[in-house]
Symmetry: C2
């Protein structure tokens, strides 16, 4: 019988100890996690096989089976990620905003762990290790709730984490796994506000919505992006093409991949046929408005007929996560900004332009976590931004926006030192 209150209380106690643990000890635990992933490969892969077999029995799609399957190689990759988190600077204890007030008080902010994180995720078992490693490094504790489809893998991975914590003389309750897949525990976790400070859902739209609507704890939503690029009149079209290709094709299954290409009408007849030809040959299919289709007259008829479909009513609100691209011709910058305001998800949007005032307006008026000028949207990522690692890409507005690295998993306390100072 699972007692979430007890788990929460244990996690809260563990964070106290973690907030006092020095960097070396936390890194010992991280190295031990990495070592465990390698030395326990056999156990993990056996557990993972059970999940995959159960998945097949329950009729999970091949894509899902693929997503949950671990290999020797992916375990090595996970171990390498954990070691790179160990190598990152420890944000805890860092001080900032130091100042001396006129009355002599010395004031500063000091980074401290947030506390207990509740993480609810689906399919990918690597999240178990990612979140554990980020939590350990930042002195937080985590209550993990993985999907039923990866229960055996997750249990094997959590065991490695807890063994590593023990080796570092840190409390095992720093990382706890909710081992019962009954959905009621998700709802219970979302009401555990006496112990849990932040809920991080990692999964689809419906999971995010469920968390937001049923949680009494702040929910860090994100990871869902309908991403745009707008090609302005002055863009260097030859240079724009590889950026569009990169944003759409380099890794279409992720949240920062391009979903909608907006093209200024002045360059549409020149650029659109090239986009359809170049990306079409890479397997991309297109959803286009009538006006866009007529701008495609310069393209080989066969290519258009086989690749371009008239856009349906929801297409411009769809995160494709695959080799599909929505196309729209717009009159001007205003229409592009308006379109993004209506259909965007505040994730990653960019402009390709040589006109500085347009770049400036786009940056100021497009309300996304990451706004790009002359770059691919694919950069919205903790590692790409030089943050080292990320727990999620936040598309909500409180606490942190965009890639959440180690500092975003901390909060601060104000430290005030005086000389028996009183307020007058």
């Amino acid at each position: 019988m699972i007692n979430l209150e007890k788990m929460g209380a244990a996690a809260q106690t563990a964070t106290l100890e973690m907030s006092r643990a020095n960097t070396d000890i936390k890194n010992v635990a991280l190295q031990a996690i990495a070592d465990g992933l390698v030395s326990s490969e056999k156990d993990i892969l056996t557990a993972n096989k059970r999940d995959a077999e159960a998945g097949r029995r329950h009729g999970l799609s091949n894509a899902l089976i693929d997503r949950l399957t671990l290999t020797s190689k992916s375990l090595l990759g996970m171990a390498a990620d954990v070691r790179s988190i160990a190598a990152l600077p420890d944000p805890i204890g860092e001080t900032f905003d130091e100042r001396v007030l006129p009355n002599g008080l010395r004031l500063r902010r000091q980074r401290v762990p947030i506390g207990v994180l509740g993480v609810i995720y689906e399919s990918r078992p690597n999240v178990t290790i990612d979140v554990s490693a980020l939590a350990v490094k930042t002195g937080n504790a985590a209550l993990l709730r993985g999907g039923s489809e990866t229960i055996h893998s997750n249990l094997a991975l959590v065991q490695i984490v807890q063994r590593a914590l023990q080796q570092a003389n840190l409390p095992q309750s720093v990382v706890q796994f909710i081992a019962d897949t009954d959905r009621k525990y998700v709802s219970e976790l979302l009401r555990l506000h006496d112990f849990v400070e932040m809920i991080i859902p990692r999964g689809g739209n419906s999971l995010h919505r469920f968390c937001r609507e049923n949680s009494s704890i702040p929910v860090l939503t994100g990871g869902i992006g309908v991403c745009h690029l707008y090609v302005d009149t002055s863009a260097d079209l030859a240079a724009a093409l590889p950026v569009i290709e990169n944003a759409k094709v380099q890794r279409p299954s992720v949240c920062n991949a391009l979903d909608t290409l907006l093209i200024n009408r002045s360059v549409a007849t020149e650029l659109l046929p090239q986009v359809v030809a170049r990306l079409g040959h890479l397997g991309v299919t297109f959803r286009a408005e009538p006006r866009t289709i007529s701008a495609l007259q310069g393209t080989t008829r066969n290519l258009v007929e086989s690749k371009v479909i008239p856009a349906g009513p929801d297409d411009f609100d769809t995160e494709w996560l695959s080799l599909v691209l929505s196309l729209k011709v717009v009159d001007d910058l205003d229409e592009a900004i308006d379109h993004i305001g209506t259909h965007g998800t505040s994730h990653s949007d960019g402009i390709l332009t040589e006109t500085d005032s347009h770049a400036q307006r786009f940056v100021n008026e497009v309300d996304a976590a990451a706004v790009y000028v002359n770059a691919s949207t694919r950069f919205t990522d903790g590692a790409q931004f030089g943050l080292g690692a990320e727990v999620a890409v936040s598309t909500q507005r409180l606490h942190a926006r965009g890639p959440m690295g180690l500092p975003e998993l901390t909060t601060y306390k104000w430290v005030v030192r005086g000389d028996y100072t009183t307020r007058s």
Copy 2:
């Protein structure tokens, strides 16, 4: 009939315009609010009188009537506060964390408004003006829900704000007031996550709890403090006394006032009688544990008998907001830290000591928004910290902790500029 969805949508549209408004225009609106408070004094005071009379008819306590009553003087004070917010630097547009990545991408974070704030408050009508001014300055919009006991005052004040917005050519829907006092609108506001980004409750514990438990929007709780000072063995006792007095007596009705004094047993018999004598003469009464009472043998018997009551079971968890002080003798620093961990509310706690290692441990191990060494707890305040103004003192851990000034009412976007840069 009030349509909160409509109000929310109008507020969201208004934030778009506000995020583009320059500092001068926002300051024009702020000056107009200040002017309006002075020139419309008669209307405001008439409306306020209606609230006070209704309050008396409904049997409101004198303290509550007092709290809601406005005067010429308090209106002048409110106007001065608004002008000082106008004089503060505008955080919007400020950039930070600029860097150039190895691939040439130029990355920075740029401060932007949070969006629509939902503010739920009781009694004090000045909150209407405070929040409006802070929202205007930071380019946010606000949906205000004041208590029924100040409905006429709030309506008069909101009219002044909206007139000022109009004068500055800013949309009036930047500040909207929910004019129906039916409680169902509070619940509705708490579920308006499609439009509202943050809920700020200003009121007692039960309001905070209600918001947290019924909101699908992140709730910024705070403003409730069971505050501690711990007098360590090495403290300069003569210097400690004025600090204890200041923390307890200077303004007992506020959240950063002292609630519990912890005294190391080695100095208890020397210090306690002085505390009881000095603060007792200023009207303070005490709740003390048996061990503390026996340490008071050096005090005039009459004073102890008239002022010191044995502590009840909840006394150490009580925010007194009045001239009451809990007293406890502790064995050592560990017991002090443990006591604060168990009974504190993570608001403001301090140590008085000459031992640097003890100060260090206290700072690291006490988990409060503001941790003090040799200073009064009364400094936890936006103005005192040099932040200029505050919308609340946050005691939760996400987004902001402690006094929330203008920057804490903002979020940021990542701005990335490249040269048609692609991810490899």
